[in-house]
């Protein structure tokens, strides 16, 4: 049965090992945004042994390209983007301490394997719920790659941000299991 957890970032190995595919998690604390272009730069920095714009240990990255904020608001609508575009970069980040990723859609086997080997999880947020999710982001600050526009790296403060565990550190996959449960075979 699916469990509900309330977690605050940074996440620890213990936090991760308590999570199972299908669990609902309300995340609070600081998370970081990055999409394809930013991921490429982060991995390049790791490979050339340079310092990253934020500490990776225990971090959670949110795959999102928000709409521009209205005056007086920290951020516009901010739901998840499709995650597979980050598949070639995520394993490296996980190896260097990343504990959680938030997005939507399937991940490849390399990402699932990295989650198992280095204790990390992939969370799904509700795609297309950008108005609702944007409201739960209390602060947003661009901390790197401003020139990338919606793809810049932002530091977000979130409160009870609702996500579901898709891939846990035990090799389970909610997309596969959920579908198997409701599939009608001819």
């Amino acid at each position: 049965m699916s469990q509900v957890h309330y977690l605050t970032t940074p996440l620890t190995d213990e936090d991760i090992m308590n999570l199972k595919a299908g669990d609902i998690v309300y995340l609070s604390g600081t998370i970081f945004t990055a999409r394809d272009a930013a991921h490429k730069r982060l991995v390049d920095l790791i490979e050339s042994k340079e310092e990253l714009p934020f500490p990776l240990q225990g971090a959670v990255i949110y795959f999102v390209g928000p709409t521009p904020p209205k005056p007086g608001e920290p951020i516009g609508s901010a739901g998840p983007t499709t995650s597979y575009r980050m598949d070639s970069y995520s394993p490296t980040l996980i190896k260097y301490g990343l504990k959680g990723m938030i997005g939507k859609g399937k991940r490849n086997q390399a990402v699932k394997d990295a989650c198992k080997e280095y204790k990390a999880v992939y969370f799904g947020a509700t795609g297309g719920a950008g108005a609702l999710l944007g409201k739960l982001i209390k602060e947003a600050k661009v901390i790197a790659y401003e020139e990338l526009g919606p793809e810049a790296v932002r530091m977000l403060k979130v409160e009870n941000f609702p996500v579901t565990v898709i891939n846990d550190a035990y090799g389970n996959d909610l997309y596969e299991e959920g579908r198997r449960q409701y599939e009608v075979k001819d």
């Binding site: 699916s2 299908g22 609902i24 272009a37 999102v64 390209g65 928000p66 709409t67 521009p68 904020p69 209205k70 516009g76 609508s77 901010a78 739901g79 983007t81 499709t82 597979y84 939507k104 859609g105 399937k106 799904g124 509700t126 795609g127 297309g128 719920a129 950008g130 108005a131 609702l132 999710l133 944007g134 409201k135 526009g149 919606p150 609702p162 579901t164 898709i166 909610l174 997309y175 299991e177 959920g178 579908r179 198997r180 449960q181 409701y182 599939e183 009608v184 075979k185 001819d186």
Partner: protein
């Protein structure tokens, strides 16, 4: 000949663009509510609940429903007894699109195919719009609009089947496309299927199928029956809301059928996510 001023078109398009980004249309909302009632999986039900709540927040607080505010796609029916003064219709639609996306605080999502550089300072904010024209009788201009997100376009596919594959071949192909798409296009989805015509005619038809009121059957009873069959088949996949498993994967299937060449059977599947942002104006 009736005259319509360029500026009036710009203004009407702009207002439609801004309104549509934050107001989920009645038909999509009704379909989501039905899915929420019918859904058997508690996890998927929770997702559908969030989507309904999201629509409410978007409407009352004027926040975009989704951060992917799409590329602007239009189907225009231009009456042949109307003349646009002060500029071209295409320019007016593009200008209205740009102003709407800027003033509505929507996202600029057009980029160069290869360099991936955003085109907002090159061509214009979220430009160019994708515009399909038809010339019709009368002295009015009807402009149908959709803000089309990338997630559901990415899983859309076209294929030219052999005539012998027939209706079963079409069903198999559509099932294959939706099954492979899984959670990626933000289900629950609406599926537009264009059958027949030429390769590109099938593709445009599948897009136009998505402009129909959600769940409204094709006027041809045989095609309507085929839509029902497809809907039933697709919901057997068990993908569910956001792909987390469930009984309500597809909200509606719309099929547009065209005569085709004796040698071919083109089929195109265009997917629309639950954030089905559509609207139209008549000038």
């Amino acid at each position: 000949m009736r005259e319509i001023a360029y500026e009036d078109i710009v203004k009407a398009v702009k207002n439609m663009v801004i309104h549509t980004a934050t107001n989920l249309p009645e038909d999509a909302l009704r379909k989501l509510k039905e899915a929420h009632e019918k859904e058997k999986s508690p996890v998927a039900k929770k997702v559908l609940e969030q989507l309904l709540e999201n629509a409410e927040i978007a409407r009352t607080e004027k926040r975009p429903l989704c951060q992917d505010t799409g590329l602007a796609v239009y189907f225009v029916k231009m009456g042949q007894d109307v003349h646009v003064t002060g500029g071209t219709l295409t320019d007016a639609i593009n200008k209205g699109t740009e102003e709407g996306y800027v003033e509505g605080y929507l996202r600029a999502s057009t980029c160069d195919c290869f360099t991936r550089a955003n085109l907002k300072d090159v061509i214009g904010y979220n430009l160019p719009a994708v515009i399909h024209y038809d010339i019709v009788e009368g002295d009015k201009i009807e402009i149908e609009y959709a803000a089309k997100g990338g997630g559901s376009e990415n899983v859309s596919r076209a294929r030219v089947l052999a005539p012998a594959q027939g209706p079963q071949g079409v069903i198999d192909f559509v099932k294959e496309v939706i099954s492979e798409a899984g959670p990626n296009p933000c289900p629950p989805i609406i599926v537009g299927v264009g059958i027949g015509g030429t390769f590109e005619k099938a593709a445009v038809s599948s897009k136009y199928a998505l402009f129909r009121e959600a769940g409204k059957p094709n006027p041809d009873p045989a095609v309507a029956e085929f839509e029902k069959e497809l809907l039933f088949e697709l919901n057997k996949l068990g993908i569910g809301a956001m792909g987390m498993g469930g009984t309500e994967t597809v909200l509606a299937v719309h099929v547009e059928k065209n005569p085709c060449h004796i040698a071919s059977l083109p089929v195109s599947v265009n997917v629309q996510c639950h954030s089905s942002r559509h609207n139209h104006i008549t000038l």
